[in-house]
Amino acid sequence: MNIKPLILIVEDDKPIRRFMKVSLEAQGYKCIETELGNTAITLIFSQNPDIIILDLGLPDIDGLKVIEKVRDSTKARIIVVSARGHEREKVEALDKGADDYLTKPFSVAELLARIRVALRQFDGISDSQGSMLTEFNVKNLSIDFKKRKVTISDEEIHLTPMEYKLIELMSRYAGRVLTHKYIVDEIWGSYFENDTQSLRVFMANIRRKIEKDPAQPQYIITEVGVGYRLVDE
């Protein structure tokens, strides 16, 4: 792809805005920036950015409002930025249609990783819409969707049907954080909405099967208070 992806940075703190812009431009992305939510909405409609990095605490309007206003009319990936301890806010943003989040303070490496994930998914949607993937590979983990087979370093892992369903769901959205609610809704339907305990136990069991050290996982990352993320790189 020759056209540089366009990234919109919505952040009220100048130093953070500045370092994000510099580091992103150093990676070859094109950036526009604003500190106001209302300006951001205008920019999203006029410039049609590929990725929006959105701070939730803005001086004029709530970041969540911005998501609500633009979600239906843009395909842009929205990455929410919020402080640690504001897990509820993150979950709300994700449920409203944000695609990912970053917890302040974050490093440049984390920022770039999230941008890469977002861009991959953006391409995925525009390029291979409809053509389902037949295989998923990351590090030593590979999933064969046709044979419903999960292997680690070519060694087959035996998962229960429910565990397979979970890892399949996560691999389809690899790199993205999936909220507890989203996963429960997708797998069990909405009956278990407030009960994430069974989900957590399933995840713990999957981890025991695919991770070498469940306390320092390589594949399934826990996003405390938010959900889970299957790594994709």
């Binding site: 303070p105 957590r200 306390a215 320092q216 996982p217 405390v224 208070g225």
Partner: protein, 546 residues
């Protein structure tokens, strides 16, 4: 309007009187009293006559007869109420003496001329005896009542001394006032904002309906007594004709409350009862003011303690932040001033210092944020279902973001361990413990995290193979603002709050925490948390200062 109210009031008055009449609490009617006393008088005087007749039969002198009659009068005035019967007995005595014992016997005639003198003297002696006796009797009665009241007053002041709060004060006074006045009592005191609280009514034998003090008129009277600080009682021609007698509880500067006493059937209080009520109200005022002062003192102590804590935290925080900030500032100015002179390696090194220092500041801020919750004096924990390894892995990933080449090894049980805890806080505990282990050991040390299940508890161990904790420090290590001051790691800085926070968090979850030196010479921190079964409380606030 006024007349209507008055009519209603009368209606209500008679209603209450009706109730009053139906009750058992009715005094003995005067008629029966008269009959009883008269019978007593007659009986005693007849006895005196019989004794006198016996005396005469025995041939004793008639002066003994006179004495016997005066004795009879004495007995009459002792055993009857008031001195009317005494005087009556005296006259009867004289007449009987005349009738039975003067010649001619059995007639009211007298032959001897000195008898009238005898009669007069006898009468005077008998009357004086009877009046004196009955006066002594009333005196005894009054002093008995007084003594009783003094005893109650003493009892009130004694129990007020031991009263622990305002409610107890009100309780004590209400109970004792009932004993003292034998009437229904109402006590109301002010709250913190100087508004009257709900009245406390103490009923005498539960005989009246509760709402004596709840009618509009009474409430108005209470309000007026409270506002003016003056006694409000039933008075003819008064705009408020209350059925109660209301006495204010006067404090040093303000009115602290009102005591009300039900005065039904225009049965108003006696003057000395009012004086008594006043002394009770004064005692109550003293007790309430003492309670207020105590509360104020407690508040001030709490405030001072909080202020001191805040000061300590600020000092410790500013020191902790200043050091890395100085490093950052120095490195940045070095780079920007000598950008062209410095070679790339030096610049990279300086930038690395900036990165590390900044990471350190971020870590400190996390602890400070936990502290701001403590600042309120209370820390609220939001418990949720958590999986142990998720907490452990999250903590490790947070710490290792900044740490060097330490080896972190984790040992987890085979079974999935579920906890019901505040995930963020437990994570903070792990972060602080792992971070401490990193801070106080060599860079190639091994840090081991071990989780085991023991009965209903889950035991966590964080150990390192460093130099351990000095023996003399083990007991104080969880104190606020403890930092390792001796030893080689002096250059590493730390907010001495970390371990204190950890301990508070664990204890708030119903666990315990301890520190010891392990067999490899390094330090081990052990803490326990209750397993999922043993706790159903979702939210729990706890006092961090305790």
């Amino acid at each position: 309007m006024g007349s209507l109210k008055k009519g209603k009031f009368d209606e209500r008055l008679s209603e209450i009187y009706g109730e009053y009449k139906d009750s058992d609490y009715e005094e003995i009617k005067p008629k029966t009293m008269i009959i009883k006393n008269a019978l007593k008088t007659l009986l005693i005087m007849s006895l005196a006559t019989i004794i006198s007749l016996i005396l005469r039969k025995l041939g004793l002198h008639e002066s003994n007869v006179i004495i016997a009659f005066i004795l009879g009068v004495l007995f009459v005035s002792r055993s009857t109420d008031g001195y009317v019967y005494g005087i009556l007995a005296a006259i009867i005595g004289v007449l009987l003496f005349n009738f039975f014992f003067t010649i001619p016997y059995y007639s009211f005639l007298v032959y001897r001329t000195d008898y009238p003198v005898t009669f007069v003297i006898m009468l005077i002696a008998a009357i004086i005896t009877s009046t004196l006796t009955s006066r002594v009797k009333t005196q005894a009665k009054i002093s008995c009542i007084r003594e009783n009241r003094m005893r109650i007053l003493y009892k009130i002041s004694k129990s007020l001394l031991t009263a622990k709060n305002k409610n107890q004060i009100v309780e004590v006074c209400g109970d004792n006032l009932i004993d003292m006045f034998n009437r229904t009592i109402m006590v109301v005191i002010v709250d913190d904002k100087n508004n009257l609280q709900k009245p406390n009514v103490y009923m005498l034998n539960n005989q009246y309906k509760m709402d004596i003090f709840e009618s509009e008129i009474e409430l108005m009277a209470i309000e007026r007594c409270f506002k003016t600080g003056k006694v409000v009682e039933f008075e003819v021609g008064n705009s408020i004709n209350s059925m109660g007698y209301y006495h204010p509880i006067k404090g040093q500067n303000i009115i602290l409350g009102v005591i009300g006493i039900a005065c039904l059937e225009k049965n108003t209080l006696l003057e000395n009862e009012k004086i008594l009520l006043q002394s009770v109200s004064t005692q109550m005022a003293l007790a309430i003011e003492r309670e207020d002062l105590y509360e104020k003192k407690r508040q001030i102590n709490l405030e001072t303690e909080r202020e001191r804590l805040r000061g300590n935290i600020l000092r410790s925080i500013s020191h902790d932040l200043r050091t890395p900030l100085t490093g950052i500032l120095g490195s940045v100015s070095t780079i920007s001033d000598n950008y062209d002179i410095l070679d790339n390696d030096t610049k990279k090194e300086l930038l690395k210092i900036i990165y590390e220092d900044t990471s350190w500041i971020i870590h400190s801020v996390e602890n400070i944020l936990s502290m701001t919750r403590i600042d309120e004096g209370k820390l609220e924990i939001k418990k949720d279902v958590e999986i142990v390894e998720e907490i452990v892995s999250e903590s490790i990933s947070r710490v290792t973001r900044f740490s060097g080449s330490h080896n972190i090894k984790v040992e987890l049980p085979e079974k999935v361990v579920i906890l019901f805890v505040d995930g963020l806080l437990i994570e903070q505990v792990f972060i602080n413990l792992i971070d401490n282990a990193i801070k106080y050991t060599q860079s190639d040390s091994i840090i081991k995290i071990k989780v085991t299940e023991k009965e209903d508890n889950v035991i966590f161990e964080v150990s390192d193979n460093g130099k351990g904790i000095p023996e003399e420090d083990i007991s104080t290590i969880f104190d606020r603002f403890y930092t390792k001051t001796n030893g080689e790691s002096l250059e590493k800085r730390g907010i001495g709050l970390g371990l204190a926070i950890c301990k508070s968090i664990i204890e708030a979850h119903g666990g315990y925490m301890k520190a010891l030196n392990n067999s490899s010479g390094g330090a081990t921190f052990i803490f326990s948390l209750p397993g999922i079964r043993s706790d159903g409380n979702e939210y729990k606030a706890f006092d961090f200062n305790s």
